[in-house]
Symmetry: C2
Subunit: 335 residues, 2 copies
């Protein structure tokens, strides 16, 4: 087989305990399949690496069924149509979809969406115009109800979702404070993204930073990390504050149980609410979100940064960058 | 001084650590004062003993300012007007208000509300027609959004608030499961109050009981107790479930920090929310709540039980009944 005939894949070999190890993956090569009726063959070009992937590797249904042992790892992807048996797609079309951690995918046409690379380059459809963008848009505005004058705090502020949450909040007239690890990321969110302040969780007290930068309390806390940072935010909520539970990356590899937020009674004291959400529930409204995001993007009002790592074979190590905080921007694997 | 001239009071002497001790109170006797302009003198007849009182004894502002050292302990009360310098009140009127743990109170007329003992006897204005009634009504329907067909679970189900939450939920067409301690309380909520099922937290697994009695998950969990019971409810939430944080009586005397709910990520998995509330925020809508509750009461649709302990001097010991679960029904001290 030439490389063009080979589909390379990472399949889940074992359910990880703690951080996923190389031995938790099977690297498999098989012949590229031909698309059947109404199917298309896609050459995957970019693979999205997201914190949520860690949860999909665990046994037991969460908000979505787990990836089974032996299955190709689930992932958001973008690529080019190589062959089409579906009337909506032609060879050469750029498409996005959950095609998994593999170099080639045969999928039903209805599982793919065409993307317009005249609006933004292909990897942007895994970030600002993809799931992270929809997550930020609906999580902040719909679940969090952020509005003009609110103080919004977001954790993992330089990450794919956090950077967009903060910028959308600024566009909506909020005061925005980001939490990030290290001086470089903190400078980025303030100087490049226009946040009002940043708190460096690796080098300062998050609790004190919140007290300082949010003297009237936090109206919306958009949480991607969980753990003690969530607890500090609970302790600093404003009256009628809203906590949006988007993720808890600090806890995904915990082997001794999740960190539990001991300040939850602040919800009573402040008549506040904490609410979880999953972006898939907004599928029927993605059009609205994508239009808003594309509009801001073309007006130059949304900055975004992709952290692109090259080489399909680097998938296992690259995924770990999410969990040690060494990625900077939306993490993408280039095939 | 004769007893009629004496105002007996319990004042806060020390901030308790853990359960309030007798030595945390000062028993004080002083002359009954005369009302000034627009004031009334009330003979307190019944004093409401509520879990929230424990929080008011701690230092630091919570949702309401703390009772200061040396102050008469705050409490809801009902009694009879002895003298009136306010045009809205005449001698002999029955009134309710936060007159504190004392036998006589001089208060501004605007701090008192007339009550109608032809609708219900005086102590009911500390229960079903008082704060517990308003708490159950607005907490369940407004914060929890309970509606026809929902599965509602309430903790401290035989208590002042819980018993009403469950009955209102039944009136609204919900399936209702109560959590209470011991066979007698569990029989009461099922056989007397009409709940669909009860879980005896002292003698069975609350988690398994919820699994059994709520096979489709919990739509509304109305929590009065916190701790592991809250965690079990989080683990059993239905899609879009609502957790109403009304109180956490299991934790009020904790000296080593609150129990933290480790299953909070169930909020994300189930797109659920957890929201705190304080009944005082609904003051402008008490009329609506009182009308509904009085209507159900006069139609014989709401049962209520008062646990009335006689003797003003028994206040310190009687309060403790709330925290060891030995009260059965709304706990009231008869002066």
């Amino acid at each position: 087989m030439s490389q063009a005939d080979q589909n390379r894949q990472f399949r889940l070999a074992k359910r990880p305990e703690g951080l996923p190890k190389t031995s938790d993956w099977d690297f498999v090569t098989e012949a590229v399949a031909d698309p059947g009726a109404d199917e298309i063959l896609v050459a995957v070009e970019y693979i999205s690496l997201d914190p949520a992937m860690r949860g999909w590797m665990n046994a037991g249904r969460s908000y979505i069924k787990p990836v089974e042992i032996g299955e190709v790892m689930r992932a958001g992807t973008v690529g080019t149509v190589l062959k089409s048996n579906h009337s909506d797609f032609a060879e050469g079309d750029k498409v996005s979809g959950n095609f998994g951690v593999q170099t080639h995918a045969v999928v039903a046409g209805k599982e793919a969406r065409k993307v317009d690379t005249s609006i933004a380059p292909l990897p942007s459809y895994l970030g600002v115009l993809g799931m992270p963008g929809m997550t930020a848009y609906f999580g902040l505005l719909d679940v969090g109800g952020a509005k003009d004058g609110d103080t919004v705090v977001v954790s993992a502020a330089s990450g794919a979702v956090g950077a967009l949450v903060g910028q959308i909040a600024k566009l909506k007239g909020c005061r925005v404070v980001g939490i990030a690890g290290g001086a470089e990321k903190c400078s980025y969110v303030v100087d490049e993204l226009g946040f009002d302040a940043a708190i460096d969780y690796k080098n300062e007290s998050v609790y004190k930073g919140m007290k300082q930068h949010c003297p009237d309390g936090i109206d919306v806390f958009f949480d991607n990390v969980g753990g003690e940072i969530l607890d500090s935010a609970l302790a600093n909520l404003a009256f009628k504050g809203r906590v949006v539970i988007c993720g808890a990356i600090s806890q995904y590899n915990a082997t001794e149980g999740m960190y539990a937020p001991k300040n939850y009674m602040s919800l009573l004291v402040n008549r506040a609410r904490m609410e979880g959400f999953v972006v898939f529930d907004y599928a029927s409204r993605y059009g609205e979100g994508a239009q808003a995001m594309a509009g801001w993007l073309s007006d130059g009002k949304l900055k975004h940064k992709e952290d692109i790592v090259e080489g399909f074979e680097n998938f296992p190590d690259t995924l770990l960058k999410l969990f040690n905080g060494s990625n900077f921007g939306k993490l993408v694997l280039k095939v």
